[in-house]
């Protein structure tokens, strides 16, 4: 991708927990200060700050303003906010760095899902005429998607359970994961449905958490880091809001975003996917053409930790971590973030270490 090269040079995240007594700004504080320390940069040198969070989730108008306190806004800073996952804040920061007049940016995302009920809250993101009034909740929508995948013969309930088993197993190496451990497919399949055809293991946990990272342009990145993870391409695409207007068993916007980001026939060594429900991992693997050579969600993915509004940004952090802490085993990684319902909006970010 032509333009100014940008790399990830430091990051931090709070451990995902079911219910944190830290306020959201306090969670942001921990993540941001950790990322700045990890990057080894003076916060006053940072040229741009961008955050992603959701006021509905926090439960207060302009709640993101108090989150900003955690970044330190004195002397005055240049900043922006997206009412989206922090991965889109990273996208905005990457675009900002393309202007060429600054050499670093801070990105963070945060959310406390514990304060409210997803079934009560999430219908409010739907269209107010047909979907919100019937209270269509995220688990029901994911179940519709799962049913479509099963009916199309593209997966079995066992395939879904195997996604969960692998996610929880991978999470055993992730200190920030909320759920981890050895699961047994037969036992999982013997459990009752939460919302058919989805069982408990097909659902993400409800999580509180925050994540932050520092971006730098090439020469600054090489000053700051021994192993900067370069962003080789980034793009995002969106599909219709109405579930009935698209094929829920496919993710054409993911395919398009990946192509625009520069994913060719060579596949990444690692992929961190925002597969919030187990069928979505299979849909995304197909959409990205990932085979067995790609390690998928070595962190455990969203089935192991799902701090909404940080989940996608954490995929980018975990992809970068797999590259820089993998002892050279991995050279390229793909991170995917999603927004909306049933993979409506998708972002693909390609990373590389040299």
């Amino acid at each position: 991708m032509a333009g100014i090269e940008v790399a990830i040079v430091g990051w931090a995240q709070t451990p995902a927990v079911r219910r944190s007594v830290r306020s959201e700004p306090q969670l942001c504080f921990d993540a941001i200060q950790g990322a700045i320390e990890d990057a080894g940069i003076d916060r006053r040198e940072i040229g741009f700050t961008c955050s992603g969070s959701c006021d509905y989730l926090t439960g207060g108008p302009f709640a993101f303003v108090s989150n900003l306190e955690a970044a330190g806004a004195w002397p005055p800073i240049s900043e922006s906010h997206v009412e989206m996952d922090g991965a889109w804040a990273l996208y905005e920061a990457w675009v900002r760095l393309q202007h060429g007049d600054i050499d670093s940016a801070l990105v963070f995302g945060s959310g406390k899902s514990s304060a409210t009920s997803p079934a009560e809250l999430y219908p409010q993101q739907l269209d107010p005429y047909y979907l919100a009034p019937i209270g269509l909740d995220p688990v029901s929508m994911a179940a519709l998607q799962a049913r479509a995948v099963l009916d199309a013969g593209r997966a079995t309930e066992r395939d879904l359970a195997e996604v969960a088993v692998r996610s929880h197993q991978n999470a055993m190496n992730n200190p920030n994961a909320q759920l981890r451990g050895e699961l047994d497919v037969e036992k999982l399949l013997a459990e009752d449905y939460v919302c058919a055809p989805l069982r408990r293991h097909d659902l993400p946990p409800i999580s509180d958490g925050a994540a932050a990272l520092v971006l730098a342009t090439e020469s600054k990145a090489r000053q700051l880091s021994q192993h900067p993870a370069f962003i080789r391409g980034i793009d995002h695409r969106v599909e219709p809001h109405q579930l009935g207007m698209r094929d829920l068993t496919r993710s054409s916007s993911t395919t398009l975003a990946a192509r625009q980001a520069g994913l060719g026939s060579g596949k990444p060594d690692v992929a961190e996917l925002s597969a919030t429900f187990s069928p979505q991992e299979l849909i995304l693997r197909d959409a990205l053409g990932l085979g067995d050579d790609t390690v998928v969600n070595p962190s455990g993915g969203p089935l192991a930790a799902n701090p909404v509004m940080a989940t996608g940004l954490i995929r980018i952090i975990e992809a970068a971590r797999a590259l820089t802490e993998g002892n050279g085993r991995h050279r390229t990684a793909l991170a995917h973030a999603t927004g909306g319902q049933c993979l409506q909006h998708n972002l693909v970010c390609l990373l590389e270490v040299q």
């Binding site: 219910r19 007594v21 830290r22 306020s23 959201e24 700004p25 306090q26 504080f29 200060q33 916060r43 509905y56 926090t58 439960g59 207060g60 709640a63 108090s66 306190e69 955690a70 970044a71 330190g72 806004a73 004195w74 406390k112 514990s114 304060a115 409210t116 009920s117 009560e120 809250l121 409010q124 107010p128 005429y129 919100a132 009034p133």
Partner: protein, 180 residues
């Protein structure tokens, strides 16, 4: 399809969301002190600003603040600004008579408490620079009501309003940096 006699042009869609959260430790201590009749803030050891209530960090120096940084401030101060609200009827409005929405800079604090009622004086006599003191609820009625991890805190669980002390007004230069 149902043949409607009249097209639907308005539909009612009332939204109610419930939030339930634990207070962070700094606000628990703030609330406990309020019930005890004390207003506690956190003093930053770098800039020496006192935040009421404390946030658990200094937003200017970006350092964590904890129990060792907590200091008591006075329950009295100066009105730095106010609005006389003439309530109009809307869903959820419980007030019927004009009331005051004032910012109060407590002695010892570095920022104002917003949205405070001023009692014991007709609204049209409230003025900037006026010295006021907290009107505390009876001990048995005090609670942590209104305290929340979002926003910038509240004393409403223990203080009903502020009332004039009768002291001379404070000159504008002493509070002008707090006028919004």
């Amino acid at each position: 399809m149902t043949d409607l006699a009249e097209p639907v042009i308005v539909m009612e869609h009332l939204v109610s969301l419930t939030y339930d959260e634990d207070l962070p430790a700094n606000l628990v201590r703030f609330g406990e002190a309020l019930i005890d009749g004390r207003i506690v803030g956190q003093r930053c050891p770098v800039c020496h600003r006192v935040y009421v209530p404390g946030r658990g960090y200094c937003p200017l120096d970006v350092i964590p603040l904890d129990v060792e940084h907590e200091v008591e401030v006075a329950d009295r101060g100066v009105v730095t600004g106010f609005t006389i609200v003439a309530p109009v009827r809307y869903y959820g409005q419980t007030k019927t008579e004009p009331f005051i929405y004032a910012s109060v800079l407590l002695d010892g604090a570095s920022g104002t408490l917003g949205g405070q009622d001023i009692s014991g004086i007709p609204p049209d006599q409230v003025r900037m620079g006026m010295r006021v003191a907290a009107v505390w609820k009876p001990v048995e009625e005090r609670s942590m009501e209104g305290l929340s991890a979002r926003g910038w805190g509240s004393v409403a669980g223990a203080v009903t309003s502020f009332t004039p002390t009768g002291e001379p007004d404070v000159a504008r230069e002493h509070y002008q940096e707090h006028i919004i």
